[in-house]
Symmetry: C2
Subunit: 251 residues, 2 copies
DNA sequence: ACTCCCTATTTACTCCGACATATTTCCTGT
DNA sequence: ACAGGAAATATGTCGGAGTAAATAGGGAGT
């Protein structure tokens, strides 16, 4: 009965999207630890992890907990296990980088600036197109959700978590108005990315520019049903966000 | 330990409903079973699965294997477990629909036509933009990969698995040429979607139209570095694919 | 000396039974 | 009637034993 030293890694800053109850599961913590280690490059693609028994013992956890963590990583395409061959890190193009949890792991340390650029490029592709569709398909409920999110953004600012949550809600409301499940799924990923990058911006310095007017322009165009204008307004918004993030990362 | 020839050796072509016995891990089979059950609506969001012990016994597997399967589903956002509360199916907007495996589960049974439309809409947004970027950034290696894929598509047809694989390779080569990791991740998802829908088309009847010329147009534009033409050609390609799929599903 | 097959070993995979922990439920006490 | 706490219950964690699979190495045949 080795009780005791359950301590180990407890330095996790809460980064779950929702305020979950106390007590993250142990296998979740292991997955987080290994996930961040892989995303940060501590384990490179092709590397073979130590055997189950050895690694589990090293981490002071049972094989069950370790294995369940590995299953999570496997499900996200980070690793693959085979008898006799061991568990190895898969090449990067197999990673499910758009998985919200993986995205969180990628931003746990110092994010790769090239990857951030990739995410903004994706946003620049998807979000204007989504705004265009939203302008054509939105109903009153969608508009109300956007309006509420905008109001919340005004009340709190992007310096607070509540404000960033409102920002995500705004973008999510737009994607929801597209009536497209695939796009909506991207919302979770993009939302996470927006969250991390916004937080990153704030870390450097206070945002020099007020982001509210840009958001209002998008809302107005969608509310008016002007598809082209909505796409263009969103395009501007993403470009400015990229500019802010880039300038704050170059310091 | 440093270098093992980990490259190559990826010939996982078989997917879908079959393949249950050897070669597939037990927990993987359970995850597949439960995943398809959830995607098909057999378990609706909010439903609570039977307890671990009961369900594991019902499936004739150990609790460990069942739990590892649940971890996989949890990692993909399909379910969430809490002590005493049980394991419940999450709302659809939490599902990671772009995960290749989830996508496979969605197409295991009769795919929802609305979801197929969503996927094509996503393709129509992402792929032309990707073709535009590819036209600006591709190098010789990228062009060679596309050319080889086209040749393979000509040799085999889309009626064979080899031909469909070549089709996927073509699209993947384009996304690879964008030098964008986030887009590349989408490649796996979109590739899976293309595969399922193409297979679906063939199920109905022989394809009335030869898809090769459309692909060649895209290739030529990318090779020539003409961004706008590449985007437009890809736009046409996706539109025609949607048309083919829609007409074959409406029967 | 070379190829091929077969054995041996290593490793992940599966199963089992017990205990710990976290929630919920409900019951008690004020 | 309400608040607080005890009990019940399902998930979570643990350690070990045994099975299956894939690689490596050795032996037989050419």
């Amino acid at each position: 009965m080795p009780d005791a030293d359950l301590t180990t890694a407890d330095e996790n800053t809460k980064q779950g999207e929702e305020a979950r109850g106390p007590g993250r599961r142990l296998h979740g913590a292991i997955a987080h630890k290994l996930g961040t280690a892989i995303l940060s490059g501590k384990y490179a693609p092709g590397d073979i992890l130590s055997g189950e028994v050895a690694f589990a013992e090293e981490l002071q956890v049972s094989r069950s907990a370790y294995r369940e963590a590995i299953q999570v990583l496997t499900a996200k395409g980070l690793v693959a296990s085979r008898p006799k061959a061991g568990t190895r890190v898969l090449p990067r193009d197999r990673w499910n980088l758009l998985d919200p949890e993986v995205l969180g792991w990628a931003f746990a340390g110092e994010p790769d600036i090239e990857f951030v650029r990739s995410l903004f490029e994706l946003r620049a592709i998807v979000e204007p197109a989504a705004a265009r569709l939203a302008a054509q398909r939105r109903d009153k409920a969608d508009l109300k959700a956007m309006k509420d999110a905008l109001a919340a953004m005004r009340r709190h600012t992007l310096t607070t978590e509540a404000g960033r949550a409102a920002d995500r809600d705004f973008h999510k409301a737009i994607l929801q108005a597209t009536r497209n499940d695939a796009l909506l799924t991207l919302s979770a990923s993009i939302g996470a990315a927006v969250n991390w990058t916004t937080q990153f911006k704030q870390r450097a310095r206070a945002l020099p520019r007020n982001p509210i007017p840009d958001h209002v322009k998008v809302y107005d165009a969608i509310a008016a049903g002007e598809a082209a204008a909505a796409a263009e307004a969103m395009n501007v918004l993403v470009d400015l966000a990229l500019e802010d993030t880039r300038s704050s990362m170059e310091d």
